[in-house]
Subunit: 274 residues, 2 copies
């Protein structure tokens, strides 16, 4: 994480503030061969819970515009965020993966590969709403948003298609704002105009989606990883739903993904300020 | 379908018997510019239900070794299969996709992208058992089989990880035969040794799976389509669980996929005879 933060700093799109035990931080910086005097360090002697709280306070008071997880449990950091009322938006927190592959003609957002196991209808609505932050940051006015299922028809035996039908209806009724919503769709008809043509699907979202909403976490998680590993895609991950973007990278993410995640969060933070 | 059948015939791995209204079949053959005198045609004048029944009888009596859907509803054909007791194995029917991509070092089988929406534990066990037919046809002695989830730890909040843990236990206890079973695994640790290494996962299945079992249909369906579209993979699909392999290709499948599906089913049918 420190290396990614250092790279983001040298690339010029992020100015880090390191929060924690100053001595430990300096040791880590030394190990990473990063000069220990270029970043602001806020020394918090207590335990990681107190350190998390302090970092969250910095974004709450506007001192910082985004939050990144260092060497701390994800659940602990998120608890600190949830405890800070001024950071709440009224929506649940959800993850989004940004994916750029040569196999697709534009950036693709996929939600939620990280936070919500089996979102219900209302949670899916909020997951969609959360992606508006990213779309705005990427200057996409009305993102084409596809509801992923395995079929194109609403079928009571497939609850995810029923939810998809209801979400499209909610969008038509104006309960969602700023999206072009389509679904249910199988994956091929979301990303391939050719597949949609063969299936006779005529919808502005088909084959041209900006955003894919998966019905549950395992699908989103496997799909995003397959696009990275089989599609050689570049990816970034950001947590949405709080007033500021949050970055929770994992050990398994490569350096590139960590850097891109900071870049994506920076864009979101910047558009939040506008 | 007729074109694929013709290609499979000229490639020499399948000898088709066409079942249905002979006049209609001949018209179709004409339209496809396939000589109408090279295939055996069994004339059934009745409705499609009777035609399906006749085709199923041919595989039941051993006259044919595999069944392929033509211009008939999938549900109707499968109903005919289920009505034919001699074709039953005691296991549910399930789909398997065979995937070959330059991004992976061997053939990958993925189940079930086609039949079972949310299989329970017993159904998952049978879905695994069904894949044994394909592994045998591909001469894989003990297929490395990965249980796909989003995490590596069994967690009561994620039912699919609980099922994965139980299936691994059942395998250890000898309730499954002939598999090396591992899971729960996230997708990256199933197909990438590098990802598994970084995560510290040491398991013979990690990064080297022959078979992936998805927790439910949408995941398998999206995953297989993403490997085809983003990973430029070649794919085939077969329905397992009856005494003979069944091919249900869809309009959206390209000619290659239809041909490969017949090839895969032929291999399975051949190994069934041995």
């Amino acid at each position: 994480v420190l290396k990614a933060v250092f790279n983001a700093f040298t690339e010029g799109f992020s100015e880090p503030i390191l929060v924690g035990n100053e001595d430990e931080i300096k040791t880590c910086l030394d190990e990473c061969k990063i000069p220990s005097n270029i970043f602001e360090i806020i020394d918090v002697k207590g335990d990681v819970a107190q350190q998390s709280k302090k970092a969250v306070e910095l974004v709450a008071c506007g001192e910082a515009q985004m939050l990144m997880k260092g060497h701390v449990d994800t659940s602990l950091l998120l608890k600190s965020v949830l405890n800070e009322k001024s950071l709440r938006t009224g929506r649940i927190m959800s993850g989004v993966a940004l994916i750029e592959s040569e196999e697709y003609h534009k950036m693709l957002m996929l939600s939620d590969p990280a936070m919500n196991l089996r979102p219900n209808l209302e949670e899916k609505k909020q997951i969609i709403e959360n992606t508006a932050q990213v779309a705005r940051a990427l200057e996409i006015i009305k993102p084409k948003t596809a509801l992923l299922c395995a079929k194109e028809k609403v079928n009571p035996k497939m609850p995810e298609t029923v939810d998809a039908g209801k979400l499209v209806e909610m969008n038509v009724n104006g309960e969602l704002d700023g999206f072009i919503l389509g679904g249910p769709f199988a994956f091929d008809n979301i990303v391939s105009m050719e597949a949609a043509r063969i299936k006779g699907i005529k919808h502005t979202v088909a084959g041209d989606a900006d955003i894919i909403i998966a019905p549950e976490l395992v699908t989103a998680n496997a799909l995003y990883k397959s696009m990275v590993l089989f599609g050689n895609a570049k990816s970034a991950g950001v947590i949405l739903g709080a007033k500021v973007p949050i970055i929770l990278t994992s050990r398994a993410d490569n350096d590139e993904t960590k850097l891109y995640s900071i870049a994506a969060a920076s864009l979101i933070a910047q558009s939040n300020q506008e």
